[in-house]
């Protein structure tokens, strides 16, 4: 193994070396240096791709105490934790100072009475993989990784091509870390641990390349039902105030799966309760949630965490500002890609080009700022007039799913509305935030299928859920339920409502589909739509949508002036026709239109075009009103 990669395979060795070197020099600031060391190494070309990812590699293939990365969302924040930063071994022969940072378990007996003990503080976050992350994101990020990894880090013994391994083989692996091997032997001490391990084994034979759904006795608390993947207790050592709930991060840290963690948790129930009455005070549920078996929920000691502005693996990881070459090349292509995307989407929207145009605007919308309570830049689209035949909405969602990095389909059936948990709720007995479907990462596309709605009655939970959806759309916030009070969490979710008539939920913009296909041929037409375009084309679209969302935008003084004049003129003709709200919407449309064309400032042309498409849309709505007659 090349020694240059020791920092990946044995990061603790690096940390400890620095700690030992600092002992003679108390003010050496070794902690900052250690973090700096890893940051520098990760900055090297491609270095971050060498680090195995917890998202793609099953946990049991990863080497304990090695450096791993994890793309995740902060689902819950636990209480801060005091740990022994520096401690002294109790054994007099090895009476040396040891470093407890980045570790869960001490290596030797601890002399609690030593004066050299340093208590330090760290924060634990409960992290889950980004909810609703689409399969293509996972595929691309693991395919560009697996190859490199198999070459560089043989000790993880994981190659994506190998699908099955037997138990015996597992034990025979010589390069397997010893601790890993010990796990089955130490396990039986505790019932849950054993259980967890049994699970692991079963999993290996059943589905070796992916983590299966969590074992029934432990709810891993994913926001969306049916999610898979590992969740992780992430321990942060510095600047934890900078992290917020629902932030998406890429975490580089030291993986800790020590079986002692789970063993400790279980033994407490049995033997030590007599020793210390204070320890049995935590409820069993709380125990389970806060110290689950490490084989199910590994611990990750963070060396470096960077917030992800997006989770599109096709985009370079550096920010757009830093990567001007990439930016200029994509900007120049944007107009043509947009045209391509438009022709791609139009047949899917039954040949309605205007609706396709609005759909693009919706897909690149983003809450870029808030003025006191007002979120700016949101663009909730209500696509009314969707045909109810041949599961059109589902097909439509499949297309969306191919285009955006993360999305979620929510059929607004009565059952879903009444029974699903939308709003996260604090469970005080387990002391955790029980997730709900609206706990989503920023820029997730939420597809609400209102065609699923049938007659019936919404119960209390249903009404609350509809209210929560309404709040989400209007204010881009979700009020989390903390039992004694509610707490407001701002969010940034693109909501797309597909409905037959006008939606019962509010929306920023409603467009009625004008189908070019006559109803008798509908079913035939729908089945002929090609859902699977070429991969290269798809990737172009994916890149386009993500970049457009990240661009900066400004309005020059001259254009401001002309926009003002336009508004005054329009009002002069017919004050009823346009209100402040309409101006709000037109400004958003103009902004998104410019960005979709790769223009970072509003031009007169874009403004006129925005006005034009708004006019078309409104005239269509009026038409529709006449036909329908029951619209307000």
């Amino acid at each position: 193994m090349p020694s240059t990669h020791d920092w990946i395979n044995n990061p603790l060795g690096v940390v400890e070396g620095m700690f030992a070197a600092s002992q003679n020099n108390p003010n050496s600031g070794w902690e900052a240096k250690a973090v700096e060391f890893f940051k520098d190494h990760l900055k090297e070309k491609d270095a971050h791709t060498w680090v195995p990812s917890l998202n793609d590699v099953p946990l049991h293939y990863l080497k304990p105490n090695s450096l791993v990365k994890f793309r995740c969302l902060i689902q819950d924040m636990f209480d801060p934790e005091f740990y022994m930063g520096v401690y002294e071994a109790v054994d007099p022969s090895t009476k040396v100072l040891r470093c407890g940072k980045y570790k869960d378990v001490t290596e030797c007996g601890v002399d609690f009475d030593s004066r050299n003990t340093v208590t330090a503080e760290r924060q634990t976050f409960y992290c889950v993989p980004i909810p609703g992350e689409n399969p293509w994101v996972k595929e691309i990020s693991s395919s560009c990784l697996g190859f490199v990894q198999a070459r560089v880090v043989p000790s993880t013994s994981y190659a994506p091509t190998r699908q099955k391994r037997s138990y015996e083989e597992d034990d025979d692996m010589d390069d397997m870390d010893t601790q890993m091997q010990r796990e089955p032997h130490t396990g039986p001490q505790s019932p849950t641990e054993q259980h967890g391990n049994g699970d692991c084994k079963r999993r290996e034979t059943e589905a070796p390349s992916s983590q299966t759904a969590p074992a029934s006795h432990l709810d891993l608390n994913f926001p969306l039902p049916g999610e898979k993947g590992p969740s992780c207790l992430v321990k942060v050592y510095e600047d934890w105030d900078g992290f917020k709930l629902n932030d998406t991060l890429e975490v580089f840290g030291i993986l800790s799966v020590s079986p002692a963690l789970s063993a400790l948790a279980d033994k407490k129930d049995a033997s030590s309760s007599l020793l210390d009455p204070t320890e049995c005070m935590e409820t069993a549920e709380e125990q389970r949630v806060h110290s689950p078996p490490a084989s199910l929920v590994p611990r990750l000691h963070v060396l470096y965490a960077k917030p992800l502005p997006h989770n599109n693996p096709l985009l370079p990881s550096a920010t757009l500002e830093d990567n001007s070459a990439f930016l200029s090349s994509t900007l120049s292509e944007m107009a043509s890609v947009r045209a391509e995307l438009l022709t791609f989407l139009t047949p899917i929207l039954l040949g309605d080009a205007l609706a396709a145009e609005y759909l693009i605007l919706h897909l690149i919308s983003n809450v870029y700022s808030r003025r006191d309570v007002l979120p700016l830049g949101k663009f909730t689209l209500n696509l009314s007039g969707c045909p109810t035949v041949a599961s059109y909405t589902e097909r439509f969602y499949q297309i969306i799913q191919q285009l955006v990095p993360s999305s979620y389909y929510l059929g607004m059936s009565l059952q879903n509305m009444n029974q699903m948990r939308f709003v996260p709720k604090k469970d005080y007995s387990a002391n955790r935030l029980v997730s709900g479907a609206l706990q989503l990462a920023r820029n997730t596309s939420l597809f609400l299928d209102e065609t699923q709605l049938e007659q019936g009655q919404l119960d209390t939970a249903g009404v609350r859920n509809v209210t929560a959806l309404g709040n989400l759309i209007t204010w881009q916030k979700v009020d989390y339920d903390f039992n004694y009070h509610q707490m407001e969490f701002p969010c940034n979710i693109n909501v797309l409502i597909a409905s037959e008539g006008r939606s019962l939920l509010p929306s920023d913009c409603q467009i009625h589909l004008q189908s070019q296909i006559t109803p008798p041929h509908m079913e035939e037409y729908l089945s002929s739509i090609h859902v699977h375009p070429q991969a290269s084309q798809l990737n172009k679209f994916r890149m386009y949508l993500s970049v457009a969302r990240l661009l900066n935008y400004s309005i020059s003084d001259e254009v401001t002036k002309s926009v003002e004049d336009d508004f005054v003129d329009m009002r002069k003709d017919d004050p009823q026709s346009i209100s402040a709200e309409d101006l709000h919407r037109m400004l958003v449309v103009a902004r998104l239109l410019s960005l979709s064309l790769g223009q970072t400032s509003l031009s007169r042309d874009s403004w006129l075009r925005a006005k034009h498409i708004e006019l078309l849309r409104r005239s269509r709505m009026e038409q529709h009103t006449c036909v329908n007659g029951n619209e307000p």
Binding site: D79, E81, F82, M84, Y87, G100, K103, V105, T106, C108, G109, V110, F112, D113, S114, T119, E121, D241, K244, L245, A260, L261, L264, K267, S272, L275, D276, P277, T278, E279, M281, S369, R371, D372, V373, L374, L376, Y428, N431, L433, T467, F482, H485, M487, E488, F489, P490, Y553, I555, T560, E564, F567, V568, R571, K572, P575, A580, E581, L583, V588
Partner: protein
């Protein structure tokens, strides 16, 4: 006690002359034993071994007099006491179960253990126990004796500390009849900063010393009284840490006060303090104290020397009550986007069951960190400490909320600096305009509405007329916003809801009478019927924002009658009959009856709400679309600027939301204006005028309620100025607002129709006046600069800001420039301003 110093006999004055020597004492006490705390129960016990620390330290006692750093008090009575007490006999080791037990005249009063302080301390104490043998031989050495005067590991000198506290108690507190003495740490600090520092840093040592001091004082004064147990001192309001989020490893073992909300309480846990063992063979009994959660079971009976014959007798062992309380950060203390932290608190003895889940409390206690136990079967341990707080004092902040006003709870802590800033702000002549423009800056104009809401936030003065049979006067201002759709009513409501600490937001469409008032439900855990309060009760002392007021059903709306005038809520359901306080301001928003304002109808016809309800609103604002070109232009400008101005630009122009919040909180707490003579006269006139106008066709008629409204508004305006007196200008403003709100100036008195064309151009008269003033000031500024044909726009703005007393927003500045441009005085091109001469 085997130590003579602690027996009552040893406390005689003559003791000084007959000190015990270490050699006479040492051998009798096994050095490994720790001394027991309960000396008052010595009678029926076998002699208790004393700790080595005690033995070692006791000879130092006679030397204390000469070594004490504090001057010897002249009062002769104090002298022997001090000698005794300053000897660390009782407090020899910090690890010992310290008792606040003075021995004089306390025969009838049992001491009571303080498990809140007696918790295990870790690292330092073992060192201490290993030290005495080495020190034993060196009793006479000066350095050693000098050290002995303070409690080991701290710099607390028991004698000085106690004396100080006694003096303090004399100063601040008269005699108490309660066995618990609550001491405000703030008082301690103002009395002696050093003592306060010691209290914060070494609560485990200092508080027992306080106990001792208080008991001594008490029994000196009332030698014959018998209390349930000895007086315990409970400090509160330690200022060190107020917020759970700020707790860090440095706070361990220190006295802290944090605020939070109780989320869970455990069952009562009997914690063994002392185990009682009896020999099965000879019935000899012995007691063993629980040490760090462990009982060292004696293996050999000391009486008959049988091994393993001792069995524990549970009902003769000593237990103390203990309860785990979980508290969570209060929502107000939390930074946005994070989840609240929780902390475990252990309540002991009589503090058990003092708090219930849902209570907001301030808790004072000692912060502890206990390492996870090393397991004998495992060499590895989790390198994590468990933290908790041993509660010493609970203070419920919402205790009285249901019955009266809790001044304490409302009191927000303002630092000197903050108060100074607020007062400076209040002294500005345009504070009223400044504050109103800081309210919801993203909402365009509607200045009068913002002013109305501002007054609502401040509220009137509370008056109590219960003596004369009228009960409390409503002090809260209710406002109804009625207007065309899309005039940002909801946004205003949302803003207010976010601004005030106790706000509720409901929509008339989605709420039922039950949701607004209260409902009875079965608690899922206890299966008991409990009263769940609705939005109106929850916003007691806050603002209840009700959107879509017109969509509310009549029956729902009718529950508001009581709330909006009597400010109570009577409930009679499921066998629960009660009256809850709902001192809430209502901010409601409604659309006109035809959803669009119909200019062919009168105001009343457009609003279409029952008179009974309308009269309960102090201000009814009509929010109409003025349909005026100049207005449209300004609106467009405002909206467009929302979409491109950066955050920083916004911030520099408007007051911070936090400042606004503090300003309101300060005024609500400390300012209580009263009517002046002239103001009363002005009010009377204003009311008579209102009656006259109100009799016109289709107008909202004035009732005596409206006079009260005027008074409230005038008081609120005085509060805005931080004035203790309501003056004529306040009344004038109240009158103006009342009139402007209903657009009475634009109403044709003959028909009662609102003439939209006469509506002010969206800009109030005062705003217009200000614009002219700014233009003039700007002109003067430019003239003062002399002959500079061109100026930087930004520079000019900053100069003007520096010069002007009033707040100059960028918009105001632009308008002033435009006005000067209209005069052909200058031109503005891009970012430069050129003079035309």
């Amino acid at each position: 006690m085997s130590s003579p110093t602690s027996t009552p006999g040893g406390r005689k004055r003559g003791r000084n002359t007959n000190p015990s020597t270490p050699s006479s004492e040492g051998p009798t006490s096994p050095p490994s034993q720790r001394r027991r705390g309960q000396d008052s129960s010595t009678g029926d016990l076998m002699p208790m071994p004393t700790s080595p620390a005690t033995d070692m330290l006791s000879p130092a006692a006679p030397q204390d007099n000469s070594l004490l750093s504090s001057p010897r008090p002249s009062g002769t009575n104090l002298l022997p006491n001090e000698v005794d007490m300053s000897s660390p006999l009782m407090y020899g080791t910090p690890s010992s179960r310290v008792e606040g037990t003075p021995r004089s005249g306390v025969r009838g009063t049992p001491a009571r253990q303080r498990p809140d302080l007696g918790s295990v301390r870790k690292a330092p104490q073992v060192d201490l126990q290993s030290e005495p043998p080495s020190a034993d031989g060196a009793v006479t050495s000066e350095s050693n004796t000098g050290q002995r005067l303070v409690i080991w590991g701290t710099d607390v000198n028991v004698g000085t500390c106690k004396e100080k506290f006694q003096r303090k108690v004399m100063v601040f507190i008269s005699v108490v009849g309660d066995p618990v003495l609550n001491v405000n740490c703030l008082h301690v600090q103002s009395f002696d900063a050093e003592l306060y520092r010691q209290l914060i840093c070494y609560p485990q040592e200092v508080i027992p010393t306080f106990d001792m001091a208080v008991n001594e004082l008490f029994f000196e004064r009332f030698p014959d009284s018998i209390l349930e147990f000895q007086i315990q001192v409970r400090p509160y309001n330690a200022l060190k840490t107020r917020n759970m989020r700020n707790l860090n490893p440095e706070d361990i073992d220190q006295l802290i006060t944090i605020s939070g909300m109780v989320i869970r309480t455990s069952q009562l846990i009997p914690e063994m303090q002392e185990a009682f063992f009896q020999c099965q063979v000879c019935a000899f009994s012995t007691r063993v104290e629980v040490d760090r959660g462990r009982i060292a079971e004696p293996s050999v009976c000391r009486n008959c020397n049988t091994t393993h014959s001792l069995a524990i007798v549970h009902n003769r062992s000593v237990f103390s009550d203990k309860q785990m309380v979980k508290i969570q950060e209060s929502p107000e203390d939390m930074p946005a986007g994070q989840t609240p932290h929780t902390t475990i608190v252990y309540a002991h003895n009589d503090l058990v069951d003092k708090v219930q889940p849902g209570d907001r409390i301030n808790i004072t206690g000692v912060y502890r960190a206990v390492p996870m136990r090393a397991n004998p079967r495992q060499s590895n341990v989790k390198s994590v400490y468990k933290t908790h707080i041993d509660a010493i004092h609970f203070h419920k902040t919402d205790e009285k909320r249901l019955h009266g006003l809790d001044e304490d709870a409302e009191q927000k802590l303002f630092t000197e600096d903050r108060v100074q800033t607020l007062k400076e702000l209040a002294a500005k002549p345009d504070v009223y305009e400044r504050l109103s423009s800081a309210l919801a800056p993203s909402i365009y104009e509607h200045e009068d509405i913002k002013k109305g809401i501002l007054l609502q936030l401040f509220g009137g003065a509370r008056k109590d007329f219960s003596q004369t049979g009228r009960g409390n006067f409503r002090a809260d201002v209710n406002i109804l916003l009625c207007g065309d759709p899309g005039t940002s009513k909801s946004q205003l409501l949302q803003y207010v809801y976010n601004l005030v600490p106790r706000g509720q937001y409901t929509s008339g469409k989605g709420s039922s009478a039950v949701g607004l008032t209260a409902y009875v439900m079965r608690d899922p855990e206890t299966r008991q019927l409990v009263l769940q309060t609705g939005a109106l009760v929850l916003s007691d002392n806050g603002i209840c924002c009700i959107d879509e007021f017109d969509k509310m059903s009549d029956s729902t709306r009718s529950v508001l009658h009581e709330v909006m005038e009597q400010q109570t809520l009577s409930i009679a359901k499921a066998g629960i009959i009660c009256q809850l306080n709902a001192r809430t301001s209502v901010l409601a928003a409604a659309n006109p009856i035809e959803s669009q304002w119909n200019p062919k109808k009168t105001t009343i016809e457009n609003i279409q709400l029952p008179h009974t309800l309308l009269s309960r609103f102090d201000l009814i604002f009509l929010m109409l679309d003025p349909q005026d070109e100049a207005y449209d232009r300004r609106l467009a400008h405002h909206l467009v600027s929302l979409y491109y101005q950066s955050e920083e630009q916004i911030e520099e122009e408007f007051l911070d939301m936090a400042v606004l919040r503090d300003y309101i909180a300060y005024a609500r707490t400390y300012i209580n204006p009263r009517l002046s003579e002239e103001a009363s006269q002005a009010l009377i006139e204003a009311y008579v005028d209102m009656r006259k106008i109100g009799s016109g066709r289709g107008m909202v008629s004035a009732y005596p309620r409206q006079l009260e409204s005027l008074i409230r508004l005038a008081e609120a305006h005085a509060k805005v100025r931080f004035s203790e007196k309501v003056e004529t200008i306040d009344v004038e403003e109240a009158k103006r607002l009342h009139r402007e709100a209903l657009k009475q100036s634009a109403t044709d008195p003959r028909t009662g129709f609102v003439d939209i064309s006469i509506l002010t151009t969206g800009m109030s008269a005062t705003a217009r006046k200000r614009k002219e003033e700014v233009a003039q000031a700007l002109k003067k500024l430019i003239q003062a600069k002399g002959k500079t044909p061109a100026m930087k726009y930004q520079q000019l703005l900053e100069d003007l800001r520096g010069q002007s007393e009033n707040a100059i927003t960028k918009e105001l500045f632009d308008e002033a420039l435009r006005a000067l441009a209209d005069e052909d005085y200058l031109t503005v091109t891009g970012k430069t301003v050129r003079l035309l001469a």
